[in-house]
């Protein structure tokens, strides 16, 4: 562990508090925050940054997270003072430049997804999901169809899907996947009915394969009066090639912090824009950006969209993230956008083949990989006791971030690997060589893996102790 910021403290006399505020409203306990010198702050946080893996420093094949290069030009553009200094309550005529960017992004995302309308406000994927299923709820309610309490969600879905459905007041029914990765249609048919509001899917699914019967699923769900929600976390796989709107989805979110290359920032912020078909437009979350006849842009409010599901943040959403997504899309353009899925798929399928060649087992060997794929190391576990966790930790020793592990929970001892289109063949080849070495180590000296990582500032941490002691703030 690095020194703590609390080690850098200098003592200054206290600040006199204003006398025109009654004493009973003022601070009672002194503000016990450290007073480091600026150079100490600079060194401390620079050193901490050096203890992180990141896209800018390491290969980061974290499945489902689309850790592609975050172009620096997007950061520079979002930081331009003309955007950064804008107060959210600036009257629209004085912020036309920003509104223009947001309006274009709405249009482009609608075009890229094959949907009719977009609201950019949700702050992340999960908030987009909440807004999306809330629109499904509002749609049924507006038709007087009040009995639709259930939301169908595949067992392999991301945890935010059932959590969002639950927050929107739905009861979640989980649907299993078949051995080939496709959805269990018989189970689906059994559960469709007048009490089902809709289904939440991502395609390609979290199993890293394309749901081939999507048109059939859409027809069945629509036939039963339900709507289809598309979790856009995996859009990188099909960008410019297949549109969720064309697959039959009614509403979706996009993780702009995945497909549109905005950074993850060590946990966020992201942006989870929602896109809908025409029949859901009246329910979009606010504000959106609207254009008047003369071309002037303004925020759309409740007066104009009275049946909106409302607002999910105090202002217009994570605008700085939206600016980055806009810059990325504008840089790529129509041709560049279509290349994204092509090279994401090429990298994933190449890596899968190469890893199979060095002995790893694919979870769905007969299927084409999408932009990501799943390996299972159950064979290693049977032979040596080595688990996916051990492989993941050993990778860190080679300066490679671990893939996603134990998600989806359906596949035992799984690694979900997503290389993204921005990685070169040389990087992928090095990854394959390292994975081959790790496999050999697993067979010959498994303790090397079990005790990994060896070369990082800390080894495996005692998570049980962390939860028991619950030291979550520095003692005063």
């Amino acid at each position: 562990m690095s020194a703590s910021i609390f080690d850098h403290d200098h003592h200054f006399p206290g600040v006199e508090l204003p006398s025109d505020i009654p004493a009973e409203l003022l601070r009672k306990t002194p503000l016990n925050l450290p007073n480091p010198a600026e150079l100490e702050v600079l060194r401390h946080y620079t050193r901490l940054s050096q203890q992180n893996f990141s896209i800018d420093t390491q290969f980061y094949p974290l499945g489902s997270c689309t850790m592609k290069y975050n172009p620096r030009i997007a950061h520079t553009m979002a930081s331009l003072p003309g955007f950064a200094r804008l107060h959210p309550d600036t009257p629209a005529p004085a912020m036309q430049g920003l509104l223009q960017v947001l309006w274009e992004l709405q249009e482009w995302l609608a075009a890229a997804t094959g949907m009719a309308a977009v609201s950019l406000t949700p702050a992340a994927g999960a908030q987009g999901e909440l807004a999306g299923v809330a629109m499904i709820r509002a749609y049924h309610a507006a038709r007087g169809d009040h009995g639709r309490r259930k939301m169908l969600i595949p067992t392999a879905a991301h945890g935010t899907n059932p959590a969002s459905a639950q927050m929107a007041g739905f009861a979640v029914v989980e649907i299993p996947n078949l051995a080939d990765g496709d959805l269990d249609m018989a189970f689906l048919d059994q559960h469709l009915g007048p009490d089902v509001a809709g289904i939440m899917l991502t395609n390609p699914s979290t199993l890293g394969v394309f749901e081939r019967r999507i048109a059939d699923i859409a027809a069945r769900v629509h036939g039963a009066g339900g709507l289809l929600y598309y979790d856009g976390a995996n859009l990188n796989a099909i960008l410019g090639r297949v549109q969720p709107g064309q697959m039959g989805f009614d509403v979706m979110h996009l993780n702009l912090h995945k497909t549109f290359a905005t950074p993850h920032g060590g946990g966020g912020p992201g942006a989870g824009a929602v896109a809908v078909q025409e029949r859901l437009r009246p329910f979009l979350p606010l504000p959106t950006v609207g254009r008047e006849g003369g071309g002037a842009l303004r925020w759309v409010t409740e007066q104009e969209l009275p049946r909106s599901i409302g607002r999910f943040s105090a202002h217009g959403g994570n605008i700085g993230v939206l600016l980055r997504a806009h810059a990325y899309l504008r840089r790529l353009g129509r041709v560049g956008v279509s290349r994204v899925s092509a090279y994401a798929a090429l990298n994933a399928n190449y890596l899968l083949k190469e890893l199979q060649r060095v002995g790893y087992q694919a979870a769905f060997p007969e299927r084409r990989a999408s932009h990501e794929f799943i390996l299972s190391v159950s064979d290693l576990q049977k032979a040596t006791g080595i688990r996916a966790l051990d492989v993941a930790k050993r990778l860190l020793d080679f300066g490679i971030h671990a893939p996603t592990i134990y998600f989806p929970q359906l596949v035992p001892e799984c690694l979900l690997i997503e290389p993204t289109e921005t990685e070169s063949k040389a990087t992928l080849d090095r990854f394959v060589a390292v994975m081959a070495q790790i496999r050999q180590e697993a067979l010959e000296q498994p303790e090397l893996l079990r005790e990994a990582p060896h070369h990082l500032p800390v080894g495996r941490l005692d998570e049980a102790l962390a939860a028991r002691r619950l030291d979550v703030a520095a003692a005063q």
């Binding site: 690095s2 940054s49 309550d89 945890g159 607002r311 202002h315 084409r368 930790k393 998570e463 703030a473």
Partner: protein
């Protein structure tokens, strides 16, 4: 090809290894009827052309001296804050699910949690929520879980209307009733509610949408006297000056939430900001969002990891305390560096300066003929001015003088047509305040 490194030879070699001839064949499992043929997207731009286009857009947003607040505030951000927060190691890392490879982010969050607990006087802070308003919605859901069985929340009428709308949207989905607590039209501050009904909690803004400081001790004690939880809504910078929620009333507030933007986050038209949420340790299992704890590795070396993850959606799925996954991590990194750079002393000096400048501006503006103060109570850095003409028209006219003069309360459906909410921060110097006075005087004469 922007951001794609492959040359033709590499692509060919990789396709051959996969056993296909063309990139299109990688999509052969997708039914052909689903393939798109065209999308209406613009042509791509070079980085240079992109820079030029967006710089033009940015510059067309008129520069204004900012006297608007209402939940988002113009403050000075020391240069080192985004210099460090923008480092690739912070900027382009994922959530710290592999703690050994994420000690930097994890320690930053631990220090952030420590700072927030000290500002709020509560024991536990999470690692952030989306923004202040959605953080308040999460705090209400948390209070309902802690209390069990209750069906409503007491919401002050002088809560920021934008926050109230978020509560309506989020809590409405679970059929939770929001019961309004009125404010005294003469003083602008809250009237103690008549009854608690089936409420789980009372929301208590330290500084209301009218900029007035509320009697937080009495409100907290009233809540506890009726077996309700007290949810404090606070500005983190104001807490350098004002009473910490942990000290409110005889027992202290139970949960504190707020908008973190004043701590080093640029305004950027409304986001990204971050919501903070702190609570008592007794309630930690109902806390939404991520939490970082200090622990040790196998060799006894100290380190940090995410903890109590069984509260979260990736473990508990539909039964999680919240659906939140991606949070506002980088904003928290910036806020932590901001707080460390200013230090406890710098934060207090800034807060005092904001207050003093606001007091001075209030004096200057009320001396303008026809301008009055509808409320006389204590305030932090925002106050309501009553103008002799519609505040919307005056605000619009002042744009021509290079000023964003404030927020007309009429836009929020509050107060009278002439009411304007004005905010002053340390960024505005005496010359700016005098410029405001002069511009207002001339606009009122000519309108």
């Amino acid at each position: 090809m922007p951001y794609i490194p492959h040359d033709g030879l590499e692509t060919a070699a990789m396709l051959a290894a996969v056993g296909v001839e063309r990139l299109d064949q990688l999509f052969d499992e997708i039914p052909p009827t689903l393939l798109v043929h065209d999308m209406v997207l613009p042509e791509g731009l070079s980085e240079m052309a992109l820079h030029r286009e967006l710089e033009g857009r940015a510059m067309s947003n008129a520069p204004l001296r900012c006297f608007a607040g209402g939940g988002a505030y113009a403050h000075h951000i020391p240069a080192i804050v985004w210099e460090i927060a923008g480092r690739g190691e912070f900027y382009s890392a994922y959530t710290p699910y592999q703690p050994e490879a994420s000690q930097g982010t994890l320690q930053v969050v631990y220090e952030y949690q420590s700072f927030i607990t000290r500002l709020t006087g509560l024991e536990v802070s999470n690692a952030s929520l989306y923004d202040g308003a959605s953080g308040l919605a999460e705090a209400c859901l948390m209070a309902l879980r802690i209390q069990g069985g209750d069906k409503s929340i007491l919401v002050p009428e002088n809560l920021l209307p934008g926050w109230r709308r978020v509560l309506d949207s989020v809590l409405g989905l679970q059929n939770i009733r929001l019961v309004s607590v009125p404010y005294d039209r003469a003083t602008g501050t809250l009237i103690l509610p008549a009854e608690a009904g089936d409420a789980a909690a009372l929301i208590i803004p330290q500084s209301s949408a009218l900029g007035l400081l509320e009697p937080v001790d009495a409100l907290t004690d009233w809540a506890h006297g009726h077996d309700l939880l007290a949810i404090a809504v606070v500005n983190p910078l104001a807490l350098a000056l004002l009473k910490a929620p942990g000290d409110w009333g005889t027992q202290g507030a139970d949960i504190a939430v707020g908008e973190g933007q004043p701590l080093g986050i640029p305004l950027t038209g409304g986001g990204p900001y971050f919501g903070f949420l702190a609570c008592r340790k007794a309630h930690v299992r109902q806390l939404p969002g991520r939490l970082v704890a200090k622990t040790v590795d196998g060799q006894g070396r100290e380190g940090f990891c995410l903890t109590l993850q069984a509260r979260e959606q990736h473990i508990r799925r539909g039964k999680a305390t919240s659906n939140i996954c991606t949070n506002q991590g980088l904003m928290v990194t910036a806020a932590t560096i901001h707080m460390a750079t200013l230090g406890g002393r710098g934060l207090q000096q800034t807060a005092v300066l904001c207050h003093e400048r606001a007091a001075l501006l209030r004096e200057l503006l009320t001396a303008v003929p026809g301008v009055s103060l509808p409320y006389g109570g204590p305030f932090f850095h925002e106050f309501v001015l009553r103008l002799p003409q519609a505040a919307v028209a005056v605000r619009d006219a002042l744009l021509g003088h290079g000023l964003l003069a404030g927020l007309p309360l009429a836009d929020w459906g509050m107060g009278e047509a002439g009411d304007l909410l004005v905010c002053t921060t340390e960024l505005l110097e005496e010359a700016d305040l005098l410029a405001y006075r002069d511009a207002l005087t001339s606009v009122l004469e000519t309108l």
